[in-house]
C-alpha cells in the first residue's frame, strides 16, 4: 500500500508539472498583455499620446518584458518555493490576497457538495437496490429522472423564491450582512454553514440523482453474487452482510468518479454562483481573462486543476483500499 501510494503521489506531481506548463502557455495565447491594457485604461480619453516606448516601460515595470521560459520558471518557482502566485495587476496587489478568501469559500462549497452527494446517494442507492421493485424504489427512480432533467440554476431560482416568500430567509450570498466584513469567529463560521447548504444542495442535486442510479445498479448486481449467498449461509446478520459484502463493492464506481464530480462542480459553480450571488473563483477567473490579468487567471486554473488531480489521487487510494485486487496491477 505504501509503495502504491508513493507511485500515485509521484504521478500526481508529474501531472501537476505538465498542467502548470499548459496553464502558463494558455495564459500567453491571447494577443497583447496587461501592459497594453494598462496603458489603454490609464490614458484613454486623456488625450495623452501613448508611444510604444511607454508601453515597453510599463512592461518592464511589470516584469513582462523577459522571455516566456524565464517567466514560467520565475512564476512556478515562486509558487512552489514561497507560495507566491505573483502580482494581480488589475488589483494592484498580490494574487494570494485577491484569491485567498474566495479560494477557501470555493473549497468549502466543493466539499460540502461532495459530502451531501455521497451521504445521500450511497445509502439511498443501496436501499433502492435492496427493496428493488417496491414503491419506494419506483419513487426514487422518478426523483432521479427529475434530478437529472432539472437544470441547477433553475432549481436555485426556485429555492430562492420559496425561501424568500415563505420563510423570509435571506439565503443569497455566503454571509449575512452583519458578518460579511467581520473577522472570522465561531458566529461567522456558523453563519457560513447556514448559507453554504443551499449552493451545496443545488450543486449536489443532479449528482445525487445520477449516483443513486449508479449505486442501485451495481448494488443489484452485487446482491446476486454467490459470495453474498455464501455469507448469508454462514449466518452473517443481514445489515452487516449488506455493508461488508455487496455495498463495499457497489460504491466502487462512485469512488472512481470523484474526480469527475469535482470537475463538474467547478464547471457548474459559476452560473449557480451568479444566481445565488456568491463570490467564488469562477467569476473572478472570467474577469481575469477579460483583463488579461494573467497571474490571477493562472493561479485560479492551477488551483482548480490541482484540486481535481488531488481528488483523483484520493479516489485512487480509496479504490485500492476498497478492492485489494487493484494493487496487484500496479
Amino acid at each position: 500500500m505504501l509503495r502504491f501510494t508513493f507511485e500515485r503521489a509521484l504521478g500526481m506531481i508529474v501531472t501537476m508539472f505538465f498542467v502548470s506548463i499548459m496553464v502558463f502557455f494558455i495564459m500567453e495565447i491571447p494577443p497583447g498583455d496587461y501592459a497594453d491594457r494598462y496603458a489603454f485604461r490609464k490614458y484613454s480619453g486623456t488625450g495623452v499620446n501613448v508611444t510604444e516606448a511607454d508601453i515597453q516601460a510599463i512592461r518592464r515595470e511589470l516584469g513582462l518584458d523577459k522571455g516566456m521560459i524565464f517567466r514560467y520558471f520565475d512564476w512556478i518557482g515562486g509558487i512552489v518555493l514561497r507560495g507566491d502566485f505573483g502580482q494581480a495587476f488589475a488589483f494592484e496587489t498580490s494574487v494570494v490576497k485577491v484569491i485567498g478568501d474566495k479560494a477557501w469559500l470555493t473549497l468549502g462549497i466543493l466539499f460540502s457538495t461532495l459530502l451531501i452527494t455521497y451521504i445521500v446517494s450511497i445509502p439511498v442507492g443501496i436501499y433502492a437496490a435492496v427493496r428493488r421493485g417496491s414503491a419506494a424504489d419506483y419513487g426514487l427512480t422518478i426523483f432521479s429522472y427529475l434530478g437529472l432533467a432539472l437544470p441547477n440554476f433553475l432549481l436555485a431560482l426556485i429555492l430562492l423564491y420559496f425561501a424568500n416568500k415563505y420563510f423570509d430567509a435571506d439565503i443569497g450570498g455566503l454571509f449575512s450582512p452583519r458578518y460579511a466584513d467581520a473577522p472570522w469567529s465561531l458566529g461567522k463560521f456558523w453563519d457560513l454553514i447556514t448559507h453554504l447548504w443551499l449552493p451545496a444542495f443545488v450543486l449536489a442535486w443532479s449528482a445525487v440523482a445520477y449516483q443513486i442510479q449508479t449505486v442501485r445498479a451495481t448494488m443489484s448486481d452485487e446482491l446476486n453474487k454467490l459470495s453474498v449467498t455464501a455469507a448469508r449461509a454462514r449466518g452473517v446478520p443481514e445489515a452487516k452482510l449488506l455493508i461488508k459484502y455487496p455495498a463495499r463493492l457497489a460504491i466502487n464506481p462512485v469512488v472512481s468518479t470523484i474526480g469527475f464530480d469535482v470537475n463538474r462542480i467547478f464547471s457548474e459553480l459559476p452560473i449557480v454562483a451568479v444566481v445565488l450571488g456568491l463570490t467564488e473563483l469562477g467569476e473572478l477567473l472570467l474577469r481575469a481573462y477579460l483583463d488579461l490579468d494573467m497571474y490571477v487567471a493562472g493561479a485560479i486554473l492551477l488551483l482548480l486543476t490541482a484540486m481535481i488531480v488531488i481528488m483523483n489521487f484520493v479516489s485512487d487510494l480509496l479504490l485500492a483500499w476498497l478492492d485489494p485486487r487493484i494493487k496487484l496491477g500496479a
Binding site: L226, S227, T229, G235, E238, Y245, R325, L328
Partner: protein
C-alpha cells in the same frame, strides 16, 4: 439409526413472469448423523432449490408449501422445525453456518474477493463460537491445516485470488467447517475442479466427515462421484425423487429407467470402443411439466394410458430402496 434431518413433502414454487412454477414437488428424504446422502440429478432437477429451502436462502419470489416439514435435531438434541422459522432473525442465523454449513460449486465466487480468507473464516467462527479474535484466528489456521493447505499461517492472510482453484475449494471447505456444523450441504463441490483434484477433494471430504461425525448432503450430477462418497442416494428428476436407497443397492440394481440411463451415461475405461449412451431428450422446463410421470417424455418403457396419465407412487423394493415407477407397481406390471 440416528436421524439428524428429516424432510417431508417439500414443495417449492416460484412466481415468474410466465406464471407459477414448482421446481420441487413433494420431496422427502432423511439424513442420518454421520452419514452422507447423495442427491443426484441433471441441472434443473431441483437439487439446489431443495437445499436452499433447508437453509431458507430462497429469494422472495419463492414459497415453500405449507404442508412441508423440515425437522432438524440440533447439537443440544433440540428439535428445530425449519419450516416454521422466520426468514430473518437469530434462530435461523444460528442454524445457518453453525448447525448446517454449505459449500458451493464455484469456490472463487463463493469467497468475497475483497477480504482475506482469514477475515471471512474468523467472522464465521466468531458468529457461532464464543471465541476471542486471537483464538478464532488460531482456530482458522488449524482448520486450514486440517483441509491440507500447506503453510496455513501465511495462507490465512491471503486473498482468494492468490490461491489456485483446488486450494480455494479446500479453503471453502475449511470456512464452512470452521463454525462446527453438524450437517454439511455440499452443492457440486467438485464440479468446477480438475479430475485429479476432484479425487483429492472427495477423499478429504469423506475423511473430514468421519473425523467430525458430520452428516452430509452431497449434491452432484455425477453418479460416479456418488459411488465414492455417499451412503444413501436419492435420484431427482424434475423436482421429484424418482428413486432412493442405499448407494450400493441403487448402483448395482437400478430400478428407475432414469437411474439406469444415468449409469449408462458414465464413461468407462472398460468400454472404450463403445459409444456413450446419453439419456435421450432434454429435461422439460418446469413450466411445461408433463402429465403423469415426469420422466414419461424421455422414457423408453413408457406405458401409454398409464405413465402419461397418472404419476406413480413410491413403491418399496428392498430394505430402504424404493422407486416411483409404474414398471415396479402391480398395476403397471399388469398393464405392461
Amino acid at each position: 439409526m440416528d436421524t439428524l434431518l428429516s424432510v417431508e413433502n417439500l414443495s417449492v414454487s416460484f412466481k415468474t413472469d410466465e406464471g407459477v412454477i414448482t421446481p420441487v414437488q413433494g420431496v422427502s428424504f432423511t439424513v442420518a448423523r454421520g452419514k452422507t446422502l447423495g442427491l443426484v440429478g441433471e441441472s434443473g432437477s431441483g437439487k439446489s432449490v431443495s437445499t436452499k429451502a433447508l437453509m431458507r436462502l430462497l429469494p422472495g419470489s419463492a414459497t415453500i408449501a405449507p404442508e412441508a416439514k423440515m425437522h432438524y435435531l440440533d447439537k443440544h438434541d433440540k428439535l428445530i422445525e425449519i419450516e416454521k422459522l422466520k426468514g430473518k432473525g437469530a434462530p435461523i442465523r444460528a442454524l445457518r453456518g453453525g448447525e448446517i454449513g454449505m459449500i458451493f460449486q464455484e469456490p472463487m465466487a463463493s469467497f468475497s474477493p475483497v477480504y482475506t480468507i482469514g477475515n471471512q473464516m474468523i467472522e464465521a467462527i466468531r458468529l457461532h463460537k464464543k471465541l476471542g479474535k486471537r483464538e478464532a484466528r488460531a482456530h482458522a489456521i488449524e482448520m486450514l491445516d486440517k483441509v491440507g493447505i500447506s503453510n496455513p499461517q501465511a495462507r490465512v492472510d491471503q486473498y482468494p485470488h492468490e490461491m489456485s482453484g483446488g486450494m480455494r475449494q479446500r479453503a471453502m471447505i475449511a470456512l464452512a467447517l470452521s463454525a462446527g456444523p453438524a450437517l454439511l450441504i455440499a452443492d457440486e463441490p467438485t464440479t468446477a475442479l480438475d479430475v485429479t483434484i476432484q479425487a483429492q477433494v472427495l477423499e478429504l471430504m469423506s475423511d473430514l466427515q468421519k473425523d467430525l461425525g458430520m452428516g452430509m448432503i452431497f449434491i452432484t450430477h455425477d453418479l460416479g462421484v456418488i459411488a465414492q462418497i455417499a451412503d444413501e442416494v436419492a435420484v431427482m428428476y424434475l423436482g421429484t425423487i424418482v428413486e432412493r436407497g442405499p448407494t450400493r443397492d441403487v448402483i448395482h440394481n437400478p430400478a428407475h429407467p432414469y437411474t439406469v440411463g444415468l449409469l449408462e451415461a458414465i464413461p468407462s475405461l472398460d468400454r472404450l470402443d463403445e459409444r456413450l449412451k446419453p439419456v435421450p431428450g432434454d429435461i422439460p422446463s418446469p413450466n411445461e411439466r408433463p402429465q403423469g410421470c415426469p420422466f414419461q417424455t424421455r422414457c423408453q418403457h413408457v406405458v401409454d394410458g398409464l405413465c402419461n396419465q397418472t404419476a406413480p407412487l413410491e413403491t418399496p423394493l428392498a430394505a430402504g430402496h424404493s422407486v416411483r415407477c409404474w414398471l415396479h407397481d402391480e398395476k403397471g406390471k399388469s398393464a405392461a
